[in-house]
């Protein structure tokens, strides 16, 4: 099954570490990202033209960036002082593998949707998604993976006149 392949890459990758970070590490990382973004806002806004009589476009972005820098400083300080909040739950073991598998499946869905088409991609997606979530009743899962994309396709394409990628069924 799909989930059984996951441990081989699930325990060391960056994804794993990101999803399983403690709140303290998460706060430190978030503070660093915020500082980087704030500096970027200052740098980027410095390249903007300042039109006459149309209000200074730098005021609000730079004001927000200063506020964010200040907030990042507090977040970093609190994290380093050990005053971060508690994580509501840790992602571990099977739960972590499940979330990672769904994230990968969803990313893959985005990449192949237009090439392969809605019905085929969604059939495969639902089938694998069901397996990841532990559905083992094939006699239910296969009809489910067939019926849902067909109904959604008919609703959007036929009833709402919103075309979906036909792919191989073009």
């Amino acid at each position: 099954m799909l989930t059984s392949f996951l441990p081989s890459f699930g325990n060391q990758g960056g994804w794993n570490q990101m999803a399983n970070m403690s709140m303290k590490k998460g706060d430190i990382l978030a503070a660093l990202v915020i500082i980087f973004i704030s500096i970027f806002v200052f740098y980027e806004s410095g390249r903007w033209p300042i039109p006459a009589l149309l209000g200074n476009p730098l005021l609000i972005p730079r004001g927000v960036a200063v506020c964010l820098l200040f907030a990042a400083g507090i977040l970093l300080f609190r994290a380093l002082m050990g005053k971060s909040l508690m994580l509501e739950s840790r992602l571990e073991g099977a739960t972590l593998r499940r979330v990672l598998a769904v994230a990968i499946l969803t990313g893959g869905y985005v990449l192949v949707l237009e090439r392969v088409g809605f019905i085929s991609t969604t059939f495969l997606y639902l089938l694998l998604f069901g397996l990841v979530l532990g559905v083992r009743r094939w006699f239910l899962l296969i009809p489910f993976a067939i019926v849902v994309p067909v109904i959604v396709y008919l609703i959007f394409d036929t009833t709402l006149n919103v075309p979906l990628p036909p792919g191989w069924f073009r």
């Binding site: 990101m18 709140m23 998460g26 706060d27 978030a30 915020i34 973004i37 806002v41 980027e44 033209p49 039109p51 009589l53 149309l54 209000g55 200074n56 476009p57 005021l59 609000i60 972005p61 927000v64 960036a65 506020c67 964010l68 907030a71 990042a72 507090i74 977040l75 909040l85 994580l87 509501e88 739950s89 992602l91 739960t95 499940r98 979330v99 769904v102 994230a103 969803t106 990313g107 985005v110 949707l113 237009e114 809605f118 969604t122 997606y125 639902l126 998604f129 069901g130 979530l133 532990g134 559905v135 489910f144 849902v148 994309p149 959604v152 959007f156 009833t159 709402l160 919103v162 979906l164």
Partner: protein, 507 residues
């Protein structure tokens, strides 16, 4: 003032053809979404916005109103039957609803909850109908400085949406402001933070972002916590409440309607707050407060009535000023814009007929969910036990297809998935999502009006303090922030006390 002629014609439109079908369908879907723990009204609206694309604006909007009111009510069903609120707004219904179910009175509890929600919702919809045109007419006097002040007011009260950490709420809001700046400069027309991508010149696609932040992120969380669906053991009978029971709750209805309306109008708080205030007020003013928490109908009627009574209040600032009061109305506002309708006083001036149809739709929606709730109570109870292993993948598909369908663009789908993951990580690390979305809407309004004001005054910032309405709104913003922080702390304490000790905590 409200035009009775337009309102009557509005009822005619709403009750005719596809509109009533869409409303009933929306209400039905809304109750189902509300009844399933983990799915919220905001998520429901975000998820089903794409289904309104092919509809006329009024058909789409009444369908979403049906989802909104139905989901707020539907949360109470799960509270009563499985002791888990279907939506955050139904948290206080647990206190007496579940004990009633344990006594074999689940049907009666659902019946009282349904009628109470209907009374609260109808009252607030009528108030919306009569107050909104007055407020909109007044708002027509507003110019750029007043709109800037209004945006500051809206932003200042988003601090109440901060969840566990005010600092993280502030960061979330500030990021919302930065996201609002992506795209072309509103005055100069030059690109900002677009990284040379043509797709970003109009900013991030708003609806895919909303679907990602509110629906896909929650679906990711459901993957994390996926459990065997709870089994409903209660027997549901005697659903229709007796007249005597309704008379017994009449004082509670009046009080809860007023509480719900006031809480709803107050920006940044909504049904999830009004239900607790109403419950504690009902208990405080009762001759037998010790009976609360043991399974009495008053304990179900108070929160249910107040939570639906806040819906019209929530819609009031959104419709009249373009100022969404909470996450659900922010998503509704997104739905309006998809149909090329910009909420605000101009909408009342240019589309008075449509506005009155919305009022009529809101009133009818509150009757529709009562009828559906009483008629299909046993079905909705069964929905709670739906297998999440099939439901969650369907939510993922609806999110992604909905996002893609807006412009038939892979970019929109990628935006939805990107913000879905961001929203999920934000939830995991206690960053509330709502301030980010509200700040994004208000940020665009704030920035453009700030710069327009400065252009009007040739760069003189005193324009914000020399115009009386703008000054009053700015002063109100300061007071609202202070009051909101204090009230938020009080509410958090009350919710924690009720959650840990039950409704019998010391007053």
């Amino acid at each position: 003032m409200v035009s009775l002629d337009l309102l009557l014609r509005g009822f005619g439109t709403v009750l005719s053809g596809y509109n009533i079908v869409a409303l009933v369908l929306g209400s039905f879907m809304g109750i189902i979404i509300g009844a399933i723990p983990g799915l919220t009204a905001t998520m429901g609206i975000a998820l089903l916005v794409p289904f309104t694309f092919g509809m006329t604006p009024i058909t789409g909007i009444v369908m979403l109103l049906g989802i909104y009111t139905g989901a707020i009510y539907g949360g109470g069903i799960a509270s009563i039957l499985i002791k888990t609120p279907g939506t955050p707004a139904a948290a206080a219904t647990v206190f007496d609803g579940y004990p009633m179910a344990q006594k074999g009175l689940a049907g009666k509890a659902i019946g009282i909850a349904t009628v109470s929600s209907g009374i609260g919702g109808t009252f607030t919809a009528i108030c919306l109908t009569f107050f909104a045109p007055i407020l909109a007419k007044f708002a027509l006097r507003f110019s750029a400085p007043e709109y800037f002040a209004l945006a500051v007011f809206g932003l200042s009260v988003t601090v109440t949406l901060t969840g566990r950490s005010p600092l993280k709420g502030f960061i979330s809001g500030a990021f919302g402001l930065l996201i609002a700046m992506v795209g072309l400069d509103p005055m100069g027309g030059f690109p900002r933070f677009t990284f040379g991508r043509v797709e970003l010149t109009g900013g991030f696609s708003f609806v895919p972002m909303l679907i990602g932040l509110f629906a896909l992120s929650e679906a990711f969380r459901q993957v994390e916590i996926i459990l065997t669906a709870p089994k409903v053991k209660a027997v549901i009978k005697d659903i229709l409440p007796k007249l005597r029971e309704l008379k017994q709750c009449s004082a509670i209805f009046i009080r809860s309607c007023i509480i719900g309306l006031i809480v709803g109008i107050t920006p940044a708080i909504g049904a999830e707050t009004s239900c607790f205030i109403s419950y504690s007020e009902a208990k405080r003013t009762s001759k037998h407060p010790e009976r609360y928490g043991t399974g009495i109908i008053e304990g179900v009627a108070a929160p249910q009535c107040a939570e639906n009574a806040s819906t019209g209040g929530d819609l009031l600032p959104m419709l009249t000023l373009g100022l969404p009061g909470d996450a659900a109305t922010a998503v509704l506002m997104g739905a309006f814009t998809i149909h090329n309708l910009q909420p605000g006083p101009i909408l009342f001036r240019d589309h008075a007929d449509l506005v009155h149809q919305v009022f009529a739709g809101m009133i009818v929606a509150n009757s529709v969910f009562v009828i559906l709730g009483l008629a299909f109570a046993r079905f909705f109870a069964r929905v709670i036990s739906i297998n999440r292993r099939y439901l969650v993948p369907m939510i993922f598909i609806c999110c992604m297809v909905g996002s893609y369908a807006i412009n038939n663009a892979l970019y929109d789908l990628a935006t939805c998935v990107f913000f879905g993951f961001i929203g999920y990580m934000m939830m995991r690390y206690s960053y509330p999502v709502s301030p980010m979305v509200l700040a994004q809407i208000l940020g665009a309004m704030m920035e453009s009006n700030f710069r327009r004001s400065l252009a009007m005054s040739r760069g003189d910032p005193t324009i914000f303090f020399t115009r009386p309405i703008a000054l009053i709104i700015l002063i109100l913003a300061v007071f609202a922030t202070i009051t909101a922080i204090r009230r938020q702390r009080k509410m958090l304490r009350m919710q924690v006390a009720m959650a840990t000790e039950g409704p019998d905590e010391k007053k």
